[in-house]
Amino acid sequence: MGVDQHTDWDVLIKGLWRENPVFVAVLGMCPTLAVTNTAINSLAMASATFFVLFFSSLFVSLLRKVIAKEVRITTYIVIIATFVSLVDMLLAALVPDIHKELGAFIALIVVNCLILGRQEAFAAKNKVGLALMDAIGMGLGFTIALLMIGIVREILGNGSLFDIPILGASFEPWIIMILPPGGFFTLGFLLLIFNTVAQRRARANAITS
């Protein structure tokens, strides 16, 4: 991954689609699949991850000249774990219902490889402004991916969207979609669509050039 010649805008935009953390890099699978059974849970998990990623990138980037190379991973983990503990307490205080539903998966944001990956690959090597742009881009990309999965699962599995029924009473919900297998299937099919589009585009480019 080249980190030298990025313009600010490019750093922000690349996380949304071209280097989307979920669909392209396949990082952070565990929360992606575990808590995306409804759109609201997806949004809560994505916001929590966004928060942690943003502040970890800020601190890692600020401290990048202070942190000794030998203990950098441990330092990153301590920084990340601090913000995860914060977000865990914040959610418990603000939205206890959602916090209860997400349970231990909030704490598991610590081991989301997306966050540690961005610290190692980007924040530790770049100025604060650029590191924050990258965190925002990747955080939004993660949010988009989680919401896409959550929306598909909630509509098919429950006939509703953000708890509002949209498919009517005659719709027989596909219970499997809100259960664990539904997570695997939804992400599998979304990746399939993603790959197909990417391949079409590559083929079209090859013909025109």
């Binding site: 396949v26 699978m29 565990c30 699949l33 575990a34 441990t74 983990i77 301590v78 774990a81 601090t82 995860v84 503990s85 865990d88 307490m89 349970g103 231990a104 704490a107 598991l108 610590v110 081991v111 989301n112 490889c113 540690l116 499997i176 259960l179 664990p180 297998p181 539904g182 997570g183 695997f184 299937f185 992400l187 599998g188 099919f189 990746l191 399939l192 790959n195 197909t196 391949q199």
Partner: protein
């Protein structure tokens, strides 16, 4: 007591399988499980680290964290990672044979969400030392089982004619979905009894 322990074991092994129903440890599940042989060794290393984790988590919970519960997450991660490092060095010295079998997987596994998940779930359920170890055995066995099943199926898919866009992660996820559905059957096995 014995019945309760057996129940914890079966529940973690099959019904609440870490990989297929909690989605913990998905990274190695999707990334590494290409060969049955590798899957077995990775699974064994997993069981091993999980047992150490269960003991470490129990010790932390009993002796340290009652005084400072807000340090739970940070101390879990650091203590688990360093304990595994120490044990790894010890094994390297005393049993090169075992080290070669588990080898490179040990440090990788430490940062795996299944390990932290185990520590957190065991804490949330209030397990003691013995229950924790049995839970770790069940969970580790479950992860191993999922890894081996996945690797076995993927070995077979290599000789199939698969469209390019399905190859790779998409195919693995769909296989995982079907496996996960199969494991849901175990939930019915006990509710009837």
């Amino acid at each position: 007591m014995a019945q309760e322990l057996l129940w914890i074991f079966i529940s973690a092994l099959l019904i609440n399988n870490f990989t297929l129903t909690y989605f913990l440890g998905i990274c190695p599940f999707l990334g590494v499980s290409n060969k049955v042989d590798t899957a077995i060794r990775l699974g064994l290393a997993n069981i091993f680290v999980m047992i150490i984790t269960a003991i470490a988590a129990w010790a932390l919970n009993t002796y340290v964290l009652i005084y400072a519960p807000y340090l739970r997450l940070i101390s879990f991660i650091i203590v688990i990672a360093s304990t595994v490092q120490f044990v790894e060095m010890a094994i390297k010295k005393w049993s090169p044979e075992l080290f070669r079998a588990l080898g490179i997987f040990l440090p990788l596994i430490t940062t795996n969400c299944a390990i932290l998940g185990l520590a957190l779930f065991a804490t949330n359920k209030g397990y003691g030392l013995l229950e924790g170890i049995v839970y770790a055995l069940g969970a580790g066995g479950g992860v191993t089982l999922a890894l081996i099943l996945m690797a076995g199926i993927r070995e077979e898919t290599r000789i199939l004619d698969i469209p390019d866009s399905v190859k790779g992660t998409a195919l693995s996820l769909i296989i995982a979905g079907i496996l996960s559905m199969a494991f849901m059957g175990f939930a019915g096995m006990f509710s009837a009894a």
